[in-house]
């Protein structure tokens, strides 16, 4: 398909995200939630739906929902209701999932983020419809057990916050940027560990296409259970291609639930059963309405960290950083905290070089060594000391990289110690530099002649020789100035 064909179509995407809340116990039982236990060792009587057991709601799960509501500027519902969603599945022990249907705990709110890079980057706001609390299901293991499936209910009853967006996204890139922002936010406000591999953050994407200018939305298909940003991107792109091709070939899109097969990069329709969608929701008689009073919301609000958007705004206002830089620095709470600590030690006048070091050398090194910023061997105060020495001319930017390397390897307590120990201090003594210039000029008469004959290149060669003689420690600006004076230029 060519680009022009695709641009005739408008893509409409809404995303439902299942966020596992990082509580210690399950949403309706006292079983632990730690990941990776042996099968069914963390499934208690309530999780197994033994006859006679009853659910009791976990305060910690509700509190996390409130944090989320405040984090996205939504309304925390004063009263919400738990309902039963009835369907049979072996990983659903009760034959119903306890969820919130008509009255969710969070209503509205929005997420704002940057899409793309450089000149083409733009701000995007996605409105949220709602977020509701529910319980996760167990897992069906399809390895062969005498031709049967094995059911592990350890995950059953793990608290989930299902976050539903409006169909506000118009491309796979926007969808991924939305998901990344949401992912960063739930970690930022500490309601989810964000572990994608373990399924702590899973997206379903509702995708439809329509001809540009059409009022009515196209028929959507829902891609289920995407647990990486790459798969989210690939799945949506594959789905868009498929829908456009189908429609351009005169076909129709049937509403369906599809799965993304990452090995072949294609979506396939899930086996659907007739009547499967008559969930017969009704209020769970075992659970009373959840009431959240203003006091509780106020207490949670008082404990909320500064949110990434507010922090990014502050970085541009107080430190004069660009919107792009501020957005990168606030991608995670740990990185933002690192940067903040660094600026605090270096002084806010040095915010920009601090930002450059955090986003540049430090980020590259963390990435290469797969180290979390919280575990970086170079601490914010150490990086601040390094930035200060570059700024005051003690070392050059290039020497700075050597100092950084030494700090990373633990060769000294701070930049000053390393500069001293390795003799990296920039030579700014005019007498010493003049002596070196004299030696270089005497040994390079040819270059001197060429320069005098008007070849500017020859000047650079001489500067290089002087820097070489100083083993890189001469102050380059000073070398330049003194050399020009000597040559009478």
């Amino acid at each position: 398909m060519n680009r022009t064909a695709q641009s005739d179509w408008e893509v409409v995407i809404g995303i439902e995200t299942h966020v596992q809340l990082n509580t210690a116990s399950k949403i309706f039982s006292g079983a632990p939630t730690t990941f990776g236990a042996e099968p069914n060792r963390q499934a208690c009587a309530v999780d197994l739906a033994l006859p006679g057991v009853l659910p009791v709601l976990n305060r910690g799960a509700v509190e996390r929902a409130i944090r989320f509501g405040l984090g996205i500027g939504g309304e925390v519902a004063a009263r919400s209701i738990f309902a039963r969603k009835n369907y049979f599945y072996p990983d659903l022990p009760k034959g119903y999932q306890i969820s919130q249907f008509e009255a969710p705990v969070v209503i509205g709110g929005s997420v704002r983020f940057r899409v793309g890079e450089g000149e083409a980057a733009y701000e995007k706001t996605v409105r949220l419809t709602r977020a509701h609390l529910e319980e996760d299901a167990g897992k069906s293991l399809h390895e062969d057990f005498q031709g049967m499936s094995g059911i592990d209910l350890n995950r059953a009853g793990t608290p989930l916050l299902e976050i539903v967006s409006e169909p506000d996204m118009r491309s796979a890139a926007e969808a991924v940027a939305y998901a990344r922002t949401l992912h960063a936010l739930v970690r930022w406000i500490d309601i989810c560990d964000g572990n994608l591999q373990e399924g702590s953050f899973r997206c379903d994407a509702n995708v439809s296409v329509r001809r540009r200018g059409d009022e009515q939305l196209g028929t959507r298909r829902e891609i289920k259970n995407l647990n990486s940003f790459r798969f989210l991107q690939e799945a949506i792109e594959a789905e868009i291609r498929w829908q456009i091709e189908t429609l351009e070939d005169g076909g129709q899109v049937q509403q369906a639930t599809v799965l993304f097969d990452e090995t072949v990069g294609e979506v396939r329709v899930m086996r659907t059963k007739e009547d499967a969608h008559d969930y017969r929701y009704f209020p769970d008689p075992d659970l009373l309405p959840l009431e959240i009073d203003d006091d509780w919301v106020a207490r949670v609000r008082a404990e909320m960290p500064e949110l990434p958007a507010a922090m990014a705004q502050r970085f541009t206002d107080e430190y004069g950083l660009s919107g792009a830089d501020a957005s990168v620095l606030t991608a995670s709470r740990e990185q933002a905290a690192y940067f903040q600590d660094c600026v605090q030690a270096a002084g806010s006048a040095l915010a920009k070089p601090c930002a450059n070091w955090v986003m540049g050398e430090l980020a590259a090194r963390l990435n290469r060594t797969e180290t979390a910023i919280a575990d970086a061997p170079v601490r914010p105060v150490q990086l601040a000391g390094l930035v200060q020495r570059i700024q005051d001319g003690t070392i050059s930017n290039n020497t700075g990289k050597k100092v950084f390397e030494a700090l990373w390897n633990g060769e000294g307590a701070d930049a000053d110690a390393i500069i001293a120990a390795k003799g990296l201090k920039q030579v700014s003594d005019a007498g010493a530099i003049e002596k070196m210039i004299d030696d270089v000029l005497a040994a390079n008469q040819k270059s001197v002649d060429e320069f005098r004959a008007g070849k500017e290149k020859a000047f650079n060669a001489l500067v290089g020789q002087v820097m070489k003689a100083s083993r890189g420690q001469a102050n380059p600006a000073q070398v330049n100035e003194l050399l020009r004076r000597k040559l009478g230029a």
């Binding site: 006859p51 006679g52 009835n86 008559d278």
Partner: protein
């Protein structure tokens, strides 16, 4: 000893005139002698009973004194008992040995009461006659071939036949009060939330409530007090102090001749209008005059919605909740799994169809229907609105009276099999008890006479929320001045 009240048993045990072990043997022997004919028990736990009795004797020997310490009783087989099978009257749970105890079971174990086993009931408590039990019908001790009522028919029959002095039960739409009436004993269902539902197998969660059976209000008070109390594992459990029932009954009335002076008894006109069996009319009339003789003042009240709409509202709501509550029986983690199936779906369908009896299947289907797409508003939601109208009826009535006096059932017990193929006829028999559950109110049934055929007839007292003390006290005053609760059926020798 067999006919002794709980208070008398208590005195005998405390005075060491009889040991808990002797009492357990006494009642176990009686079960051996008579239960083949009555079939009140699904499981007799001889071993567990004797171990519990021995433990009670040790506690008594140490000088410990507690209301139910060493007193024999039995549980309706709807309460989960660790190590003892819990069937709920269903093939689905025929071999289910619960890995945990219901809250009520724990409380009674701690109280030192001695459980003799598990009592028959309608399958999953769905029924009014104990005929839907997979384990066969229970017979009314007053007359073989007649139902004991239901769903707690095994409990009522066991107490009436003195196979146990006390029994637990549950009441979702009358399942304690109606069998108590049919068997000539006393039964109380407290305010919703008084007895923890944890470990009590769910039928219709918003109506299910544990209750107590005994010969008299006094005996019921002893058991209900021990069963009640806050349980953090039940979200609907009331976090308020358990009522002190026995103490209230032991206090002497101010006016011994007219102990109920000042009591306003509401008589709902709609409940006495038509459809009542003449013997029920007569017995209730006698009881009313007795109450008036004791000083109560009867006032006419109206429960229009409760009388007219309780049946439809109840059968919609209870079936809806039941259809969902019973989805967990899928043959995966416990319970019956069909021997033959082709795939997952047929494993589900065959296991459930084989495991559930006809009445349970009917209610599951009706429940699925009233919740299904397109019918929810007309049925489920409408029934919830009617529920409010019914609750409002009672609230208005309790502005004019303290307690309500009503029939328990339009008729005395019927013949086994008489209504078995006519679910609607069976449902109509619950007309006087359902509304109480929809409103979450406490209700009590006490014996007040007999039919021409010699079958017991009961009277119902209904109170506002948390009025258990008053209900039991009023029934107790009635029983201090009458002897209906002292009548015993003559059991044929085994």
């Amino acid at each position: 000893m067999i006919d002794a009240s709980v208070a008398e048993l208590r005195q005998a045990l405390d005075a060491r005139k009889v040991s808990a072990t002797e009492l357990a043997h006494l009642f176990l022997n009686r079960i051996d002698a008579h239960d083949a004919a009555i079939h009140a028990f699904i499981t007799v736990d001889r071993e567990g009973a004797l171990a519990a009795a021995a433990a009670a004797d040790e506690r008594l020997a140490r000088g410990e004194r507690a209301p139910l310490l060493g007193i024999p009783f039995a549980h309706k087989d709807i309460f989960c008992t660790e190590g003892v099978r819990t069937t709920c009257g269903s093939k689905m749970l025929e071999n289910f040995i619960s890995p945990y105890d219901a809250h009520v079971v724990t409380l009674l174990k701690e109280a030192g009461a001695v459980s003799l086993g598990k009592l028959n009931l309608d399958e999953f408590a769905m029924g009014s006659s104990t005929e839907t039990s997979y384990f066969g019908a229970t017979h009314n001790p007053w007359r073989a071939g007649y139902v004991p009522g239901g769903s707690s028919g095994g409990s009522a029959a066991a107490v009436a036949a003195r196979l146990v002095p006390l029994a637990t039960g549950t009441d979702t739409g009358g399942s304690v009060r109606q069998p108590a009436a049919f068997c000539g004993i006393t039964g109380i269902k407290p305010t919703y939330g008084t007895v923890s539902r944890y470990g009590m197998i769910a039928y219709a969660s918003s109506c299910d409530q544990g209750g107590a059976f005994g010969a008299s209000a006094q005996d019921c008070a002893a058991l209900l007090e021990a069963m009640s109390g806050f349980d953090e594992r039940d979200s609907t459990s009331l976090n308020r102090p358990a009522p002190q029932l026995r103490a209230a009954l032991d206090a002497a009335p101010q006016d011994a001749a007219r102990p109920l002076a000042g009591l306003r008894l509401g008589v709902p006109v709609e409940f006495f209008r038509d459809g009542l069996h003449p013997d029920v009319v007569r017995a209730l009339g006698d009881a009313r005059r007795q109450y008036e003789a004791l000083g109560a003042q009867c006032v006419e009240i109206s429960l229009e919605h409760a009388a007219r709409l309780a049946i439809p509202a109840y059968y919609v709501l209870a079936s809806a909740e039941a259809s969902s509550n019973l989805s967990r029986y899928d043959g995966v983690r416990y319970g019956h799994r069909a021997a033959d199936y082709d795939d997952l779906d047929s494993m589900y369908c065959n296991s459930r169809s084989e495991g559930f009896g006809a009445e349970v299947r009917r209610r599951i289907l009706i429940g699925a229907y009233v919740l299904s797409h397109g019918y929810y508003d007309a049925y489920y939601l409408q029934a919830q609105r009617l529920r409010r109208l019914i609750a409002q009826d009672f609230r208005a009535a309790f502005e004019r009276c303290d307690l309500i006096f009503a029939p328990v059932s339009p008729t005395p017990a019927w013949k086994i099999g008489e209504k078995a193929d006519d679910p609607v006829a069976m449902y109509l028999a619950d007309i006087h008890t359902l509304a109480v559950n929809l409103a979450g109110l406490p209700g009590l049934s006490h014996p007040c006479g007999f039919s021409e055929e010699g079958l017991p007839i009961g009277a119902q007292l209904i109170g506002p929320h948390f009025s258990e003390v008053r209900l039991l006290e009023v029934a107790h005053r009635f029983q201090q001045n009458t002897d209906w609760h002292c009548r015993r059926p003559v059991l044929s020798a085994a």
